[in-house]
C-alpha cells in the first residue's frame, strides 16, 4: 500500500541538515509495523513527512501510495488530500484549538472523508449515534465533546482523543506517533484495545514508539529500528523484545 | 504582614570630594555655549553644531507627558561647566591627575591606576564634566581600538566624530537631547575596527561632584564590520539636598555583523525618604543596527536617581539585525521612574527582545513605557516582550504603558506583562529554612530578575544583586 524509497527529509529548508538520510520502507495491507529508535533518530519526522507537514521538506526520494488500485506519488499531494485518501497521522503533541468544539471538529472531518469517498454526509443525529459507539469502544465519556478541541486535556486524554479520531475516520493507513507516551497502564490498555479493534485486512498501521511496552498489547508484523536518519535493522516482533533487554546501542553499533 | 515605613537610606557614595573647581557662571545662553567650546579648544564645525542645537532647544518645551511629578528645573540656576582646576584642559596620563581625584574613585571602588585595576576592564573616568583619562591605552592601541574622551576624539582623524555625531540621536530629537547637544562637555568615544573582538571590557564611570551643576556627557560608540565590544557604564553622585540634572546622550552604531553589548548599573543619589534632593536623570540612548546581522543589546540596572526618564532604543535597519533590552528598575521611597525602550523594526528578519523587571517599594512609582513598531518593509520581524512588576507594600505604584504598532502581516509580536508580590508563603518558607530577611529578599529579587542579571558581565551582576538587596532591606517584613 505504501512504498517509501530513499527518502531524505530536512526541516525548514533544503539548506538545513537532513534528519532522514535515505529511508526506504514497504507497508502492505493488513500489516502492523513498529518503528522504533532512540530520541532524535527521525521517527517522528518520517510520520510527519508522510502526512505532508509543511515544515518538513523532502529533498530526495519518493513516497508511493496505492489509491483505487493505482500507485500515486504522494509528494505532490496536499495534507488534506492525503487525509481524504485515507492517511491518518496521530500526533505526538496534539494541538489545542480554542473556539472549535471537539464535536464539531469530528463531525466536519468525518463528513469531509465521506464526501471524498462519494458517500453521503451524516446528519448530526446519526453522527451522534456513530460517535457514541466509538466512545464506548475507548471507554471515554462524551462530556468533553462540547469543549474546545484538546483544550485543558491532559497528555493522556489528548492521545485518547487521537485514537478516537482514528476510530471515527477509519483511515486506510495510520501513522501513530508515540501514542503511548504519557499514558498510564490503564489508559495504555484501552488505547491498545482501540487500535487492535481497528486492525483489519484492508488497512495498515505504523506505530512509532520509543518503548516496547505498547507492543505487549499490539503485536506488530514487522519491527524496524531507525537511527540517525536511516533504518538500520528490520525484524519481527521478537526484535522488539531484544531491544527491550539490550537497548538501542546494540543495534546502532552494529 | 506589616511593612516598616522607615527606611534608612545607606547611600555609601554620598561623600563629597574637596577639590578646587573651576565653574562657569550659572545659566545658559549663546555666550556660555561659546565659552564651553572655547575652553575645550574645539574646531569651528563643532561650535556651529552646538549653537544650532541651542537654537533648537530654545524653541522646544520641556516634556510633560510622562507619568512623572517633576518640580520645574530652573536652568538659570545650573552651572553648565565644572571641572577640577588644573593647568591643562586635558590629561595625557593618569599620573597627571590630582591624587585627591584618584582617591575619590578609589573610594568608589573604581580602578583608575594601572596597577590596581580589575583584570580586563579599561576605564574612562568622568569627574563632573571632564574625563580624567583612560586606562589601558597601550593595549587597546595594539588592536587599533580607539577608546578615549570625546574631547580627544574630536581632533582625531579620520573624523569619525564628525561623521557620526547626531546621526543616531539628532539634536531636535527631544528637549534634553537638544540641551545636551548644546552644552555637552565630555564623555567617551569608542571605535572598534573591522573584525576586532575587543579584548577588554570597556567601561566609563560618571561621578557628579560639584553642587548645582548639571552633567551632560555625550558618548559615541562605533563598532565597525564584524567587531565585538562589551561596554559598561556606572554612575554615582554625592548626597545633596538640591536636585541635580543629568542629561546625557549615548549613540551606538553597529555595522555589518558587529555586536555591541552596553550595560549600565546606575546608582545615582535618589533623594532622601521625604523625596528631597536626588538626581534628575534624563538620558537619551539609542543604537542603530545599520548593518546586516548586527546586534545591539542594552542591559540596565537602575537603582538610583530621584527621577529617571530614559528609553534606550534600537533602530533595526540592517537585515536580520537584533536589538535587545534587559532592565531591572528599582524604585524606593519617593523615587519615580519612567523608563522603557523603543524597538523600531525597519529591515527584514529583524528581531527584538524586551525583558523589563520593575520593583517598587514604599511610595515610589515605577512605569514602563515601550514602543514596538514594525514598519511595512520589515518582513518576518519578530518581537518578544515581557514586563513584570513586583510591588512591595500598598503605597507604591507600577504602571505599564506599551504601544505596539504593526504594519506587516508576516510579523510575529508577543507581549506579556504581569504583576506579582513577594509572597508571604515564600518568605516564610525561606525563613523556616534558616534564612534571615535580608537573604530571603535577596533570593526573591534574584529569582525575579534572573533573566536580566544573566546578561550583565559577572562583576556587574554581583554588584547589582548587592545593590538591590541593600536598597530593599528595610522595605520588606
Amino acid at each position: 500500500m505504501l512504498s517509501i524509497t530513499d527518502l531524505h527529509v530536512s526541516p525548514e529548508g533544503p539548506e538545513e541538515a537532513s534528519i532522514l538520510k535515505g529511508v526506504s520502507l514497504e507497508v502492505k495491507r493488513g500489516e502492523v509495523h513498529a518503528l522504533m529508535g532512540p530520541n532524535g533518530s527521525g521517527k517522528s519526522t518520517l510520520a510527519k513527512a508522510v502526512a505532508g507537514h509543511p515544515d518538513y521538506h523532502v529533498t530526495k526520494g519518493q513516497i508511493d501510495y496505492e489509491v483505487d488500485g493505482k500507485k500515486v506519488g504522494l509528494l505532490d499531494w496536499e495534507p488534506d488530500e492525503r487525509a481524504r485518501a485515507g492517511i491518518f497521522l496521530g500526533l505526538q503533541y496534539p494541538v489545542e484549538i480554542p473556539g472549535v468544539s471537539n464535536e464539531n471538529f469530528l463531525r466536519t472531518a468525518f463528513n469531509e472523508v465521506c464526501k471524498a469517498q462519494g458517500l453521503e454526509e451524516m446528519d448530526p443525529y446519526d453522527f451522534d449515534q456513530y460517535l457514541r459507539e466509538k466512545l464506548d469502544l475507548l471507554e471515554m465519556d462524551g462530556s468533553f465533546l462540547k469543549r474546545s478541541l484538546n483544550e485543558g486535556f491532559s497528555g493522556g486524554e489528548k492521545k485518547k482523543n487521537e485514537i478516537l479520531q482514528m476510530a471515527v475516520l477509519a483511515p486506510r493507513l495510520a501513522f501513530l506517533d508515540e501514542t503511548d507516551s504519557g499514558l498510564d497502564i490503564d489508559a495504555l490498555k484501552i488505547v491498545a484495545k482501540g487500535i487492535n479493534s481497528l486492525r483489519a485486512q484492508h488497512n495498515a498501521i505504523v506505530l512509532v514508539t520509543h518503548y516496547q511496552r505498547l507492543l505487549n498489547y499490539i503485536t506488530p508484523d514487522f519491527v524496524h529500528v531507525i537511527s540517525d536518519g536511516l533504518i538500520v535493522k528490520t525484524g519481527d516482533s521478537s526484535l522488539a523484545l531484544e531491544l527491550e533487554s539490550k537497548g538501542y546501542d546494540w543495534v546502532v553499533r552494529a | 504582614m506589616s511593612f516598616k515605613s522607615k527606611v534608612k537610606e545607606k547611600y555609601k557614595y554620598g561623600f563629597v570630594t574637596d577639590i578646587e573647581m573651576e565653574e562657569f557662571p550659572k545659566g545658559l545662553d549663546e555666550r556660555i555655549v561659546g565659552l564651553i567650546s572655547e575652553k575645550r579648544k574645539e574646531p569651528t564645525w563643532l561650535l556651529d553644531w552646538r549653537l544650532k542645537a541651542y537654537e533648537t532647544w530654545k524653541k522646544m518645551d520641556e516634556p510633560r507627558w510622562a507619568a512623572l511629578d517633576i518640580g520645574s528645573i530652573d536652568y538659570g540656576e545650573i552651572s553648565f561647566y565644572a571641572r577640577p582646576k588644573s593647568k591643562k584642559p586635558k590629561y595625557k596620563s593618569m599620573d597627571e591627575v590630582d591624587p585627591e581625584l584618584l582617591a575619590t574613585f578609589d573610594r568608589l571602588g573604581i580602578p583608575l591606576l594601572e596597577r590596581k585595576r580589575l583584570a580586563g576592564v579599561a576605564v574612562d573616568a568622568v569627574f563632573d564634566s571632564i574625563s580624567l583619562g583612560t586606562t589601558h591605552q597601550e593595549e587597546l592601541d595594539k588592536f587599533g581600538i580607539i577608546f578615549c574622551s570625546m574631547a580627544e576624539a574630536i581632533e582625531m582623524p579620520p573624523e569619525l566624530v564628525r561623521k557620526y555625531l547626531g546621526t543616531v540621536v539628532p539634536r531636535r530629537d527631544n528637549y534634553f537631547a537638544a540641551l545636551n547637544s548644546a552644552v555637552f562637555t565630555d564623555g567617551s568615544f569608542c571605535y572598534i575596527p573591522k573584525g576586532v573582538r575587543c579584548p577588554l571590557d570597556l567601561s566609563t564611570y560618571f561621578r557628579i561632584n560639584a553642587a548645582e551643576t548639571g552633567q551632560f556627557e555625550r558618548t559615541l560608540l562605533i563598532a565597525d564590520e564584524g567587531s565585538f565590544v562589551n561596554y559598561l557604564e556606572g554612575c554615582t553622585a554625592p548626597q545633596r539636598d538640591e536636585n541635580q540634572l543629568h542629561a546625557a546622550v549615548v549613540e551606538l552604531v553597529a555595522l555589518k555583523d558587529a555586536t555591541i553589548n552596553y550595560s549600565t548599573v546606575q546608582n545615582w543619589y535618589a533623594g532622601d525618604e521625604k523625596g528631597k534632593g536626588g538626581i534628575y536623570n534624563f538620558v537619551t540612548k539609542r543604537g542603530h543596527c545599520l548593518g546586516e546581522n548586527s546586534s545591539i543589546s542594552w542591559t540596565q540596572v537602575e537603582a538610583g536617581s530621584a527621577i529617571t526618564w530614559k528609553y534606550p532604543s534600537c533602530h533595526l535597519v540592517g537585515e536580520n539585525s537584533r536589538g535587545s533590552f534587559y532592565s531591572v528598575a528599582l524604585t524606593n521611597n519617593r523615587m519615580q521612574a519612567d523608563t522603557g525602550t523603543k524597538m523600531i523594526h525597519v529591515g527584514k528578519g529583524t528581531k527584538s527582545t524586551i525583558i523589563s523587571k520593575g520593583i517598587s517599594a514604599e511610595e515610589s512609582v515605577n512605569s514602563y513605557r515601550g514602543l514596538v513598531k514594525v514598519m511595512p518593509g520589515a518582513h518576518g520581524a519578530k518581537n518578544y516582550t515581557q514586563c513584570d512588576s513586583m510591588l512591595i507594600g500598598d503605597r507604591c505604584r507600577a504602571n505599564t504603558f506599551p504601544s505596539i504598532e504593526v504594519g506587516n502581516k508576516t510579523a510575529k509580536v508577543e507581549h506579556e506583562a504581569s504583576t506579582t508580590k513577594i509572597g508571604e508563603d515564600q518568605i516564610f518558607y525561606c525563613r523556616s529554612r534558616g534564612m534571615d530577611m535580608e537573604k530571603t529578599v535577596g533570593l526573591m529579587i534574584n529569582g525575579f530578575c534572573q533573566e536580566v542579571f544573566k546578561k550583565l558581565p559577572l562583576e556587574f551582576s554581583e554588584e547589582a544583586v548587592k545593590l538591590l538587596e541593600m536598597k530593599l532591606e528595610h522595605s520588606v517584613g
Binding site: P79, D80, E112 | -
Partner: protein, 425 residues
C-alpha cells in the same frame, strides 16, 4: 475642514435652535456646549486618540429633534422583546417589552441630576451628546429574565448628513438578570453621518447582565459608542462587542467595580476588510477589593484595514485581592493591514494578580496542519480556525440562547468577509 471649523459646525445646530424645547434641560445643554467648546476635538497628541482617524468627521451635520417611524425592513429578524431606535430616536411603534421591564423617556431636569454627575469629566463627545440632549431613555430591569431583549439602532438613507446622540440608561435592580442583544447598523452607504450613542449601566447588588453589541454598518456612518458601567457588590457584567463592518467605529467602555465580588468580562472582536477601521478602548477600574475582570479582544484584519485596541486596568491603592487578565490577539491577513495595540496597567497595590498580553501574528501553522491532516482543505481549515478564533470573544455571554443567536450572526458575517481565506494583492 480644520479643527476650529469642525467645532463650530458641530455646535451650529445647537446655537441655531437656541433655548427652544418643551423641557427644563437648557442648563444641561449649555454645560455640554461649553465643555465641548473648551475641550475641542482630540488631536494626535492625545494618547487615547492617536490611532483613531477622525478625518471622516466633516463637522457639518444637521440635527433633528424629533423621530419618525422606521419605514423599511429590519436587516435582522427582530426579537420578540425589543427597543428600536430609528435614526437616533426611539421608535415607539416597533418597540415592545414583556413583563419585568420598564422603559420610559426622561425629560425633566431632576431625572438628569445623577446622570450629569456621572458624565462630567468625560471627553468632548460626551459633552457633545449633552449639548443635544432633549431626552434620555431609561430601561429598568426588575426581574430575572431568561429571554434576550433586543436593542436596535437602525439608520437608513434619511440619516445622511445628520447626527444623533441617543442616551440610554440601564438600571438592573438587585438580583435581576437580563440578556441584551444590541445591534447598530446602517443599511445603506451614507455620505457622512454621526451616531454618538451613550449607554449608562448600573448593576445593583447581585445583578447579572449579558450584553452583546454588534456593529455592522456601511460606508460613511461614524458610530461612537460609549458604555459607562458601574457594577456593585456581587454583580456580574458580561459585554461582547463585535465590529463586523463599517469604515469607522469608536467603541469606548469604562467599567467601575464598586463592591466586593463584582466581576466584569469583556469580549471584543473586529473583523475588517478593505478600508474598514475600528478603535476599541476600555478601562476597568477596580475600586473595591476582591473584584475581578477578564478581557479578550481579537482581530482579523484583511486588506487595507486597521484597528486600534487599548485596554487599561487600574487598581487603586486600597484594593487588595484583585484578579485581572487581559489579552489581545490579532491576525493580519494582508500586507496592507495594520494594527496598534496598547495594553496598559496602572497598579497601586501589591496584592493583585494582573496579567495582560498582546499577540500579533498569523494563523497558527500547527493548528492549520492539524485540520488539514484530518481532511479539511486549506480554505475550509482557515474558515474553521477563523470561526473558532472569533467565537471565543463571546465568552462573557452566559445565556445560551443569546450566545447562540450571536454566534450564528457572527458565523454568517465571517463567511462573507473571510470567504475563501486566501488574500489577494
Amino acid at each position: 475642514m480644520n479643527d476650529g471649523d469642525a467645532l463650530e459646525a458641530l455646535l451650529a445646530p445647537y446655537k441655531a435652535l437656541g433655548q427652544t424645547g418643551p423641557d427644563s434641560l437648557h442648563a444641561l445643554r449649555s454645560l455640554g456646549a461649553k465643555g465641548f467648546a473648551d475641550k475641542g476635538l482630540p488631536g494626535r497628541k492625545d494618547e487615547a486618540w492617536k490611532y483613531t482617524s477622525l478625518k471622516g468627521l466633516t463637522g457639518s451635520y444637521a440635527w433633528k429633534s424629533e423621530g419618525e417611524r422606521f419605514p423599511g425592513t429590519p436587516p435582522v429578524d427582530l426579537l420578540d422583546q425589543r427597543i428600536v431606535f430609528y435614526n437616533g430616536h426611539w421608535d415607539k411603534t416597533l418597540s415592545t417589552l414583556g413583563p419585568g421591564y420598564r422603559f420610559f423617556p426622561l425629560k425633566e431636569e431632576r431625572d438628569f441630576d445623577p446622570l450629569t454627575r456621572q458624565l462630567q469629566g468625560e471627553d468632548c463627545f460626551t459633552d457633545l451628546a449633552l449639548t443635544y440632549c432633549r431626552e434620555a431613555y431609561r430601561l429598568e430591569i426588575e426581574e430575572r429574565g431568561e429571554r434576550p431583549l433586543g436593542i436596535y439602532h437602525f439608520m437608513d438613507k434619511n440619516f445622511e448628513g445628520t447626527m444623533a446622540h441617543p442616551l440610554l440608561i440601564v438600571h438592573a435592580r438587585e438580583k435581576s438578570k437580563a440578556h441584551l442583544f444590541e445591534f447598530t447598523s446602517s443599511t445603506e452607504d451614507l455620505g457622512s453621518a454621526l451616531y454618538n450613542a451613550h449607554t449608562l449601566i448600573t448593576l445593583g447588588q447581585g445583578a447579572h447582565l449579558d450584553h452583546v453589541r454588534i456593529f455592522k454598518s456601511r460606508k460613511g456612518l461614524m458610530p461612537f459608542s460609549k458604555v459607562l458601567a458601574q457594577i456593585h457588590k456581587e454583580a456580574r457584567y458580561g459585554n461582547a462587542a463585535l465590529a463586523l463592518g463599517g469604515s469607522f467605529l469608536r467603541n469606548d467602555l469604562r467599567v467601575e467595580l464598586l463592591g466586593e465580588g463584582a466581576h466584569v468580562s469583556l469580549g471584543g472582536l473586529y473583523v475588517h476588510d478593505t478600508n474598514e477601521d475600528s478603535s476599541h478602548v476600555s478601562l476597568i477600574d477596580h475600586k473595591a477589593p476582591k473584584t475581578s475582570s477578564r478581557q479578550l479582544y481579537k482581530g482579523l484584519l484583511n486588506h487595507h484595514s486597521h484597528a486600534f485596541f487599548q485596554g487599561t486596568i487600574v487598581v487603586g491603592k486600597d484594593q487588595a485581592d484583585i484578579e485581572s487578565s487581559q489579552l489581545n490577539n490579532n491576525i493580519l491577513l494582508s500586507d496592507t493591514a495594520r494594527v496598534d495595540s496598547r495594553p496598559v496597567l496602572e497598579i497601586g497595590h501589591c496584592d493583585v494578580k494582573c496579567t495582560h498580553g498582546t499577540t500579533i501574528g498569523q494563523m497558527d501553522g500547527e493548528q492549520l496542519f492539524y485540520l488539514r491532516s484530518r481532511g479539511f482543505d486549506e480554505s475550509k481549515a482557515k474558515r474553521f480556525l477563523a470561526r473558532g478564533f472569533c467565537e471565543e470573544t463571546l465568552f462573557p455571554i452566559e445565556n445560551e440562547s443569546l450566545h447562540r443567536l450571536s454566534a450564528d450572526y457572527l458565523e454568517r458575517s465571517i463567511l462573507e468577509k473571510i470567504g475563501d481565506g486566501e488574500e489577494g494583492p
